[in-house]
Structures are given as C-alpha cells and as structure tokens.
Amino acid sequence: MTQADEKQQIAIDATMQSSEHQAWKWYQYFTFNTDHKVIGIQYLVTAFFFYLIGGLMAVAVRMELATPDPDLLDPSLYNAFMTNHGTIMIFLWIVPSAIGGFGNFLIPLMVGARDMAFPKLNAIAFWLNPLAGGLLLLSFLFGGSQSGWTAYPPLSQVTAPIAQSIWILMIALVGTSSILGSLNFVVTILWMKVPSMRWDQLPLFCWAILATSVLALLSTPVLTIGLVLLLFDINFGTSFYKPDAGGNVVLYQHLFWFYSHPAVYLMILPIFGIMSEVIPVHARKPIFGYKAIAYSSLAICLVGLFVWVHHMFTSGTPGWMRMFFTISTLLVAVPTGVKIFGWVATLWAGKIRYTSAMLFAIGLLSMFVMGGLGGVTLGTAPFDLHVHDTYYVVGHFHYVLFGGSVFGIYSGIYHWFPKMTGKLLNEPLGRVHFGLTFIGTHLTFLPMHYLGLQGMPRRVAMYDPQFQSVNQLCTIGAFILGASVIPFTINIVWSWIKGVPAGDNPWNALTLEWTTSSPPLIENWEELPVVTHSPYEYGRDRIKADSVATQAG
C-alpha cells in the first residue's frame, strides 16, 4: 500500500472501532467529505436548489408569454432568463442529480464496494458544481448570457460578452466535474465489483451509469474545445467562428452538438437505470428482459454518438448528411423502445403498489412514450424543416426531460430517501405531489406541439396574437408545476427531521444497498456482502428479502 493508503486504512480502522462514528454528523455534510454517500447527497441537495432557481426563471418566462407583447420583462432580460433556465436545468440540475447524486450514492453500495475508486477526486468533482453555479448567478451582474443554452456564434460573440465568457467558464467547470465523475464510475464498476457478483448479476442501474460515463468521457471534451474557441473569439481576437476572417459558424454547431446530443442521453440513461430498479421492487416482479435492457443502454451510448446533425437539418449541411443522420436518429429509437416494452411487461402479472416512487415511474413511462414519439417525427429531415426551432421542439424535449428525467429523479428520491436518511417520506403528500406534477406537465407542454405546428417559433418574447389563448393554457400549467414543488419540499424537510424511521429495507428489495442500515454505515458494511442471486429474483417464495442472507460468515 502507498503511504496514503496506509493512512486511510488506519483512519478507517479507527472509525470502525469507535461506536459514535457510525454515522456522519449533520455539519459534516457541508464539508469536503470523501464519503461517496455524503457526496451523493451533496449533489442532490445542491442540484435541487438550482432546480428551484431555474424553475423561477421558467415561471418568469411563462408569465411574459401570457401576452403576445413584451410587456413584462425587458427583452434582453427575458433572453437571459430563457438562456439560463435551460443552462441551469441541464448542467446544474439533471446531470448532477441523476449522475452525481444517485450515481455516487448507489454505485459502491450496489457493487459491494466501500467507496468509489478515487474518493478525493470525487469530492473535488462535487465542489466544482456549487462554484459553477455561483459563477452563473454572478453572470447576471453583467446581463447574463442571452444567446440560448446553445450559444451559437455570431450572436454569442456579440451579445453580453462578459456574461457569455463567464457562462463558458461555468460550462468548463461542470464539464470537468462530469469527466472526473465518469472516470470514477467506469473504474469502480469495472474493477471494484465484489468478486462473488457475476456480470449478469450487476444491477441495471450500474449498467446505465457505465454507459452514461463512457458517453460523457467521449463527448464532453469536444464541447470543451468548441466553447474554448468561442471564448477566444470573444476575448482574444481569434476568428474560428467569424466568416469574414476565414472562420465558419457551422463548425461551432458540429462541435457543440457532438456533445449536446449525447448530453440528452446523459440525462436519461441514469433515469432509465432508476426505472429498472424501482419498477421490479414496487411490482414485486423480476425485470423483464435483463440482458436486453443492459445491452440497449450500451446501444444507445454507441448509436447516440452518431445522430448529432439532426439538430442542424436547416443549417449549412448537405443533403446526403441530412439523410444519413435521419436514418441514424430513427435507429436510436429502437433500443429505447425495447426498454419501454420491457418495463411495461414487468408490470404484467405483478403486485403493483401505488407508492409515490411507483406512480412517478409509471408516469414517466407514459410521458416518455409521448416525448419519444414526437422525437421520432423530429428526427426526419423533411418534417423537421417545418418544426425545427419552433414550440414543437420545446414541447418534445420537455416531455422527455421533465416527464422523463425529472419524473425519474422524483421516483428515485421517493425510493431511496429511506435508505439515505433512515426516514420514510409521507406517502399521501407524495401522491398529491404526483397529481399536481402530472397534470401540470401535460397542461404546460402538450399544447406547445400545436403552437409549433401552427407557426410559433421558439425563444421569442413576443409572438403573433393568434397564439395567445394556447399560450395562456401553457402558463397556467407552468404555475401548477411551480406549485407542485411545495408539497415535495415540505415532505423532504419534514420527513428528514421527523419522519417515521424506515428500517434497513422498507421495500423488501433485493439489491445490495438494502442489506445495510439506513442510513448505511460510513464503511457501508461491517463485512462485505457475498452475492448468491440476481438482484431481481422476485416471486420465488420469498416474502422477506433478508432471508436471502448476504453476509459472509
């Protein structure tokens, strides 16, 4: 062992021996803490905070859009809210909570390890996020970046340059965090799995995070370069994206979308992993088609690297390229369909509990089908020429990102909050939360498809008055969504402090995280578990999961 390892081992032994150190104190959750469980919770809480901020920006945007004229906000401020709403939701809410939050908390527990491969690197990766978030809020002192989360030059070269530069630095920080985190996940999953676990016994959430991490490692560096070149164009006189001086604006789009399309898979693959864990538990049934679901994650990862030009069908792209990417985009729908059918089949002949976790999971299934069907239409170049950059797109991606990713995050929180905190969440309040969210999502985003088809472009503070009544419907929906976080937040805070104790395994689930206490010991287990069965073996005359016996003698 290296000296560092020796020191760590001594510290662990000391911790294990002292009885009062079986759990972290509350204030230790605010420090540079290398425990993957603390880091996971830090990610989740920080991300939720930014979700609320991004949500307020969305409410401001929808309030402006209740009328056709720009009568509420200055149009530049509107563009700043619109831009940063998207930026925050993607980079400071969904990615950190789905990957950093759930990934970090669960992966070592699910593979039977005591921590991730590189705990210190893990903590550094987390702390880059609040730093980035702070920077982004700071950029509002300079007007906030206003060129959309896509930041296309030349607009991004000439609009609010200081704020835009800060925005670029912020993305660089979260990108670095993402790469460091992905590094940790790949090494941990591939090399630190407990020896008694076969590859076909690895929980599907782990397969999902593995695919996500590989995708992040391969695509994030390209975005970094695209944005660094933009930063230099804005501040240091280069001309990568200035056509008058030999540059090319379409180049930026290629570099940007090479990352940003896989980015949407980064935002949904971990969620699919959560689905594969939640549904079997709350339906008391094995997952239907384990191998197909595992392989489909890898397929999405691979094919997903070759679809990016479907964001550029109206741009400077030749006809043959538009066709190639139409076909690749249509193909990537197939592995996703495989997963959806697998989950629906998991419900068949189950004993479904209407827990909040399950309601959100089923809601996700329903929402994602709609978002996915819309996505298939968008992937075809001939039709996309009409709806590109319209509210049809806005409707589509909110179905898959909100109805998909956010529903999945909620489902995961309802499912694992007992494990993380040792307390149960209040179920009736959870159902209220679900109802409001379900209705709000449909009301806000379904009419947007019609708006786009009829001629309303996106990213506008003012629009043709013929669209007003539909816009008002969407705004009402947005208010319902805004209200929906209230029962959720109350539930979290109240239950964390005063909730009913959860016990080790309130759901009688079979994955390894449920074989330790809630919250888990700092070292996860006193002795590492030995795996004797797959994590989805429901229905084999087992009523209590702990009769499975996973402790070594």
């Binding site: 090494v187 008694s196 370069i225 230099f232 240091f236 070594a552």
Partner: protein
C-alpha cells in the same frame, strides 16, 4: 495494488489481483483527452477544407526547429522508458538519471516551441491558420508542461528511501504513460500542421 481502500475483507472471497486502479484511471482520462485533441484536429481540417487558400497570406510554416523538436520528443519517449525499466530492477539511481534526462529533453522541447513562437512573425490573431496553429500547439505545449512537472515530481519523490521500488512504482508508470500520450499527440499534430501544409 489497490488505488484506495482495500476491498478484500470478505473471508470467503478469492480476490483477483488487478492493476493499480490509478493507472487505469489515468488511461481512461487520456482517452477522454485524446477526444479533446481530436476536436482540435477536426476543427483544423474543417477550416482548412473550407478555405479557398491554405496557408492564408502572411503565414508560412517553418520546418527546421519543429522537426528537431519532434526528434527530441520522440527520443525522449525511449529515454523515459529506460527509467521505467530501471525501477523495475529496483535501480532508483537509474530511474532518477533517465527521468532527469527526459525532463531536460522536455524542457528543450518547450524552449524550442517558445523560440519558434518568437521568431515566426505572426501572432495568435493574424489569420485563421495562426488561430489554429497557436491553439493546437499551445494546448499541446500545456500538456508537455504538465508532463514535465509530473516527471520532476517523480524525481523529487524518489529522493525518499524506498518510496519507489521494484514492487511499488505507480507514480513512475503514470508519468511515463502520460509522456507517451503527449508524444503521440505531437506526432499527429506535426503531421497535420507541418507536413500536410509544407508538401
């Protein structure tokens, strides 16, 4: 060799030996880094392909100093490997010698790069080729600097008795792998920027 916490506490398990996780982590990181350079190379080729004239007016590519630099850098990969071979035979002195020579060669490379920048006659903002040239060689130079610091770090740590040995030399390996990476990237860069434009 474990990277962090020992996993082998289960009485029944048969722990498989695996390479040091830190080396695997570095390799994974370098795969990511190569995509970063890949994006720079793709940018260069895209802009070159869509330009009416390449090289644009006012810029020429000088070949002498960069070619010497290339020879130095490629040779240094062999030199650093000798240092790795040395520590595998418990020869700490040999490690320090060969890593020291590598550090010197790396410093000469960087010096050559700076000399080239100063004598080129065009700056970062002169034209689109200059933009690409300075970005690519600059990013690469930054990585050479980091590699140089890693090598110096290894030499520094080797001062302590027993820190590196036949059985314990992860840091040495990691510095070597990083250095080889920097070398490979340079070969590609040199081909794209210097050879493709000169001939």
């Amino acid at each position: 060799m474990q990277g962090s916490i020992d996993v082998t506490q289960s009485a029944v398990s048969h722990h498989e030996a695996h390479p040091d996780l830190r080396t695997i982590g570095l390799l994974t990181f370098l795969i990511s880094e190569s995509l970063m350079f890949g994006a720079l190379f793709a940018t260069y080729l895209y802009l070159k392909g869509s330009a009416a004239q390449w090289l644009p007016e006012g810029t020429e590519v000088e070949l002498l100093v960069p070619s010497i630099n290339t020879i130095i850098l490629i040779s240094s990969s062999f030199v650093i490997h000798k240092g790795d071979t040395a520590i595998k035979k418990n020869d700490v002195k040999g490690l320090r010698l060969w890593y020291g020579v590598t550090a010197l060669m790396g410093a000469i490379f960087l010096g050559g790069q700076i000399y080239e920048y100063l004598s080129l006659g065009y700056g970062l903002t002169t034209n689109i080729f200059a933009n690409c040239f300075y970005m690519m060689t600059g990013f690469h130079g930054l990585h050479v600097l980091i590699g140089l610091l890693l090598i110096l770090g290894v030499i520094w740590r080797s001062r302590r008795e027993g820190h590196y040995s036949k059985s314990k030399h992860t840091g040495v390996e990691m510095a070597e792998i990083y250095w080889h990476f920097v070398d490979v990237i340079w070969i590609i860069l040199f081909t794209l920027v210097y050879i493709l434009t000169a001939f």
